[in-house]
Amino acid sequence: MADLNVNIGKLKLKNPVMTASGTFGYGEEFSDFMDLSRLGGFIVKGTTLHKREGNPYPRMAETPSGMLNAVGLQNKGVDYFIHEIYPRIKDTGTNIIVNVSGSSIDDYVQAAGLINELDKIPAIELNISCPNVKQGGMAFGVSAKGASEVVKAVRAVYGKTLIVKLSPNVTDITEIAQAAEDAGADSVSLINTLLGMAIDAETRRPLLSTITGGLSGAAVKPIALRMVWQVANKIKIPVIGLGGIMNWKDAVEFILAGATAVQIGTANFIDPAVTLKVIDGINAYLDRHNFSSVSDIRGALIL
């Protein structure tokens, strides 16, 4: 049994496997299939200061080896999370991280400030990369200046581990990652979904109500892996890799590219218990290659 412990800022994970925001609900949806306490952590659904109904149906289209979504941050707001959901999930026995989104800096700051008060939430993931909301979201994540402003503002009110989730829909993701690090982020997670589109040739209509949406799933893995490698080589804070991880081997590849931890997203829809297989698979890989710790393979890509 290899040592699977990793640290992200002040956050200690028993293993490097987390779940991605928006793919794991509030964890409860998966409790029939797995012991949630085995996870390194899970990241709850994107939470905004105020309730959001999200985009109209249809919000999802299956694509080759992947899917597009345009959910648009449907959630009941931070107060609902604090009063209704948090009491139910806080003693799950793993790190619960809240993904925070907003349409103005003030929204982010207020929501982060409220979540800062919750004892059992050791970190937030700042979503500056949602492609499915018109105002804000990705707007902050596509320029170094925008990223810097929102991260600085949240850093001022949030004392625990601050992870910034980056958009791949940019010319140079390393610039945004650098800006997040310089503004005080403890970690960056990447990638959020890639902006994509699907059309039904027969009806001549788009398959999503919003026309465009975010692509995820196995199809995006090579892009995600490349971006994680580039970012890990540029910045000093830990990188959390995600994007198309379907099994333990994909997860190991992200760690070899420089990720300290990984998130499993769309794969949860295909196998709701996939995360446990990924944890066990990483461990077996480390044993087989005689590594005593998962840290030994971080960035250990042979060039």
């Binding site: 928006g22 793919t23 794991f24 609900g25 949806e29 998966f30 029939d32 299939f33 659904k45 109904e53 999200g54 109209p56 149906y57 249809p58 919000r59 999802m60 289209a61 299956e62 694509t63 080759p64 080896s65 992947g66 899917m67 979504n69 959910v71 449907q74 799933g217 196995a218 769309t266 949860n268 829809f269 295909i270 196998d271 709701p272 218990a273």
Partner: protein, 258 residues
Amino acid sequence: MKKFILDLTVTSNALIHENYALLKLTHHDPLPDMLPGQFAEIRIDGSPATFLRRPISIHNVDREANEVWFLVQVAGEGTRHLAQKKAGETLNAVLPLGNTFTMPAPLSGQVLLAGGGVGVAPLLYLGRHLKENGFVPTFLLGARSRKDLLQLAEFERYGKVHATTEDGSFGEKGYVTQHSLLKENSFSRIYACGPKPMMASVARYAQQHDTECEVSLENKMACGIGACLCCVENTTEGHLCVCKDGPVFNIKKLLWQI
């Protein structure tokens, strides 16, 4: 209800129509409890075009044979894959998912189960459940033509079956809501599943006759367990997940123009 991820074994798979397969699956342990209206998310392996699981309604549960039945409409690559599975092969299913139909009050009169196309699938198990609970379900099944009416003999085991066909080749000619049964009878509760225009038409009838009515929706979904929020329906309570809050909804909760 506890949900399971199970590797189920195909006991039989018959093409009962050019576009429909009747797929029967078993498990080495007793199958979990399943209620009418619930569905399974079945994994399709081996093709990049079928990345996600396919949600398929539970058509029947045969406890003696320890079998769960699915009526699969071949609509694309995923369902074609399901229709081609052979006895002895394995399919991975997550089940049971979703809510169930509301049972009628005892002694509350006739209940109508109206189905069209592949929408008849959940009504067989619902009819069976109703019969086992002392009700006498009336089925009203609609199809384009005689050959498109599926599983009639099975439905007849649990209740009286009426049919409409668009070409008049069986039962009354027309759509289900044009059937004389609806003019001559009153029902205490109606359940409907089928194409949306058909369900809307049944809902209109129910509304006009002040009858409780539930419909089963089949919005496009990904996770099947209320995690991704892709399959939402607009309701009086905002966007609800068809996979978790449904698939069965009372028509009063829906914002349909009916």
